[in-house]
Symmetry: C2
Subunit: 430 residues, 2 copies
């Protein structure tokens, strides 16, 4: 039986779930996978408390000296679950430089330093497992790296933030406000006390960066992703969405234009009601891949949480432990081509524009004039019978238009004096 | 650059798609994957016609002598796309015995002889790639084998036959009859001239056999799957499904009971309208996996067709070509435990029973008496205002009951004299 000594950096939700999995399922793993796993050392702050939480028989060595976990001669695979750039980055680099394979769920670290760490891994003959860094329990990176390796990809993306999806599908279902649903998400543990990474789109943008590198082999950086939060959504938006036969979803999207440039964004889309992604409710993730030959694939599952993420971490640990020699660093994190980016002038879609105005005559005419001046063609005007004279919501849909031109028109409209809320624009996609 | 010489057995839709892929994308594959592929030989009947179809530069050796493809010293990987048990089985065995790796999309061969072929592969140090055998372009076997290897599975299954899904979702959408939708499917190339393997459930049962072996490591055989076709479905069934907030879907399901026994079936289910699988329209597949820790995962995509299947075949070819030594035969095809099966006495669900009767007084009372005698509790009776006196459809829903007991009741009801059509029973699941 092959033996793998694990060193765990970080003993929070995912670390505990992974430790439970390795301890409880040891005999099943030995039988099915042919590897004997030993959890050798666990590094975390507040180690006395963490040690007290241990319930799985003989405990591993608990320590606050994180470097000692990496340096432990019995540790052959380091699992980094600290999150954040430091000290995680230094510890991962230290392990790789010592020829030890690393498995990490740290999307921020990979988005910022993925290529450098992959090169370090290759130089020292170590492996680097990253499956858990995107969409938790959904095995999307392995699908891109192995299953679709023979195909050419056209687009990748989807619902990458479960917190946003919980809030949006809850607003749709209950008619409640963003603030109420956010409070619910926080109460249920789906959102942090400071939810900004989730609700402002940064988390989804980070995952999209990694997906885009894997899928298209370009050096995409976090700052290349145009992002927009969900904090401005109002209950009326869901009423109009329904009237349009659509649903509001935060989608992270990366599409390759025919000339090879990538169009990257995190936005709230009005998704067609018949689309699979429109049906996904609650704190789940869905990744949609369109490949030239394989067509459209959709993968859904739990994008976060201790147990699903631990299963993804373990899948990398198993692959590294079974490998005759550690796999070369995963496809998409080294030898990347320079990125070639498209911008808002390349993002063309029909949009729905939502305005909330103080009722007075001639408003639609003024907006229509602004749109016409920017050559934006109105398709329809929807006004549901609700709202008050001081804050009357209505929606205009416009024919397919480049986002850049639409933003110009909206800039002019925004300066008109009758708005009770900031205007919002949602692309309508399928 | 590593070199891989491919020998192709069968040059139909998938074979041609694979050849196109390898030829057209040769430079991309060399760059991304680091392997130079040469299509060395193609074996098929009517070789003059097949050779005439070649359009990709210097043609490979075309031959009707299939053994010569396997024996060609330049062929290191044999791709078997003949289908059926023979001569495919003898050729695959011949290749493996010579130490050549084999990639096959042949689900019937794997269902009947998978374990034997896997053992042969191991004995001779050859690899055996089977990804394309289940759900075409959906990378489900690799997900089970690698991504979920660290988890314990609870159930696996889904919509495994795209032809049935095309017919059922078409009946739902258009109100047309089974026969009309089948004719449509045949016209569009989604169904064969003899559609029985698809519409009677055999194709889905075969795929389920392979999935069940992979997921649960038991020696499941094709005959262990209880199967039912879709040929008895009537337009009224979709009207009642809608009234129940549900959709009719052919689902292949394999669930592990707490005692480890497997419950296997291919049936038409009344799926809850909010379930993702209820939303899948057209000739697509969806595989649903429930794992103890990772939770529910759903994978959707194209389950058939030349290009998607060729991408799946190529993913195995790439894995074998890149491997330092061929992977051991895939998890789930050897060292299987004896199967332990559950039966209709273990399949418990609420059911909807559809009757079409010649109208006369007291029918519901007679049916209710039969059900009561078998201790089946009626939940509700639905009768939509359509049908004629000579063929009046209605539906009874019953509380959760073991299928075995329900079948007993239905046997008695079937003997009553007022039926205009065979009664039908659909489990209601989510």
């Amino acid at each position: 039986l092959r033996r793998a000594g694990l060193g765990l950096l970080g003993f929070g939700t995912v670390g505990r779930a992974l430790a439970n999995l390795v301890v409880e399922d040891r005999s099943r793993l030995e039988r099915d996978v042919g590897v004997h796993f030993a959890l050798v050392a666990v590094g975390n702050r507040g180690v006395a408390r963490k040690r007290a939480e241990w319930s799985g028989g003989a405990p591993p060595r608990f320590t606050e000296d994180l470097e000692s976990v990496v340096d432990d001669p019995d540790v052959s695979i380091v699992v980094e679950l600290l999150g954040g750039l430091e000290p995680a980055g230094a510890l991962v680099a230290r392990a790789l430089a010592a020829g030890k394979s690393v498995v990490t769920a740290n999307k921020l670290l990979l988005a910022e330093r993925g290529s450098e760490l992959a090169a370090l891994a290759r130089m020292h003959g170590a492996g680097l497992g990253v499956e858990a860094s995107v969409a938790g329990g959904i095995p999307i990176l392995r699908a891109l790296r192995e299953s679709l390796a023979g195909d050419a990809l056209l687009s990748v993306g989807g619902i990458l933030n479960g917190t946003c999806n919980f809030i949006l599908s809850g607003m749709e279902k209950t008619g409640r406000s963003y603030a109420e649903m956010l409070a619910d998400a926080q109460r249920l543990g789906y959102a942090e006390a400071d939810p900004s990474a989730d609700v402002l789109g940064g988390d989804a943008a980070c995952k999209l960066t990694l997906l885009a590198r894997m899928a298209f082999g370009q050096e995409v950086a976090l700052r290349d992703v145009a992002k927009e939060g969900i904090t401005h959504l109002m209950p009326c938006d869901f009423v109009y969405a329904k009237a349009l036969g659509r649903t509001l979803k935060q989608l992270a999207t990366c599409a390759a234009l025919p000339d090879g440039r990538l169009l990257l964004g995190v936005r709230t889309h009005l998704v067609a009601g018949h689309a699979l992604l429109a049906k996904l409710e609650g704190p789940f993730n869905a990744v949609r891949v369109v490949a030239r030959r394989a067509g459209e694939l959709v993968f859904t599952g739990r994008g976060a949480g201790g147990d699903p993420t631990a299963v993804a971490v373990l899948s990398d640990v198993l692959e590294l432990a079974r490998a005759v020699r550690p796999e070369v660093p995963p496809f998409g994190f080294e030898s990347l081509a320079p990125r070639r980016l498209a911008g808002p002038e390349d993002f063309v879609a029909p949009f729905a524009l939502r305005f909330v105005v103080r009722d007075r005559p001639g408003i639609i005419a003024e907006i229509a004039r602004c749109l016409a001046e920017h050559e934006v063609n109105i398709d329809a005007v929807l006004q549901e019978p609700f709202g008050e004279k001081s804050a009357l919501p209505f929606v205009m849909t416009v024919e397919p238009i480049a986002e850049a031109r639409l933003l110009g028109a909206l800039q002019a409209i925004r300066e008109l004096p009758f708005h009770a809320e900031e205007p919002a624009a949602f692309p309508m996609t399928s």
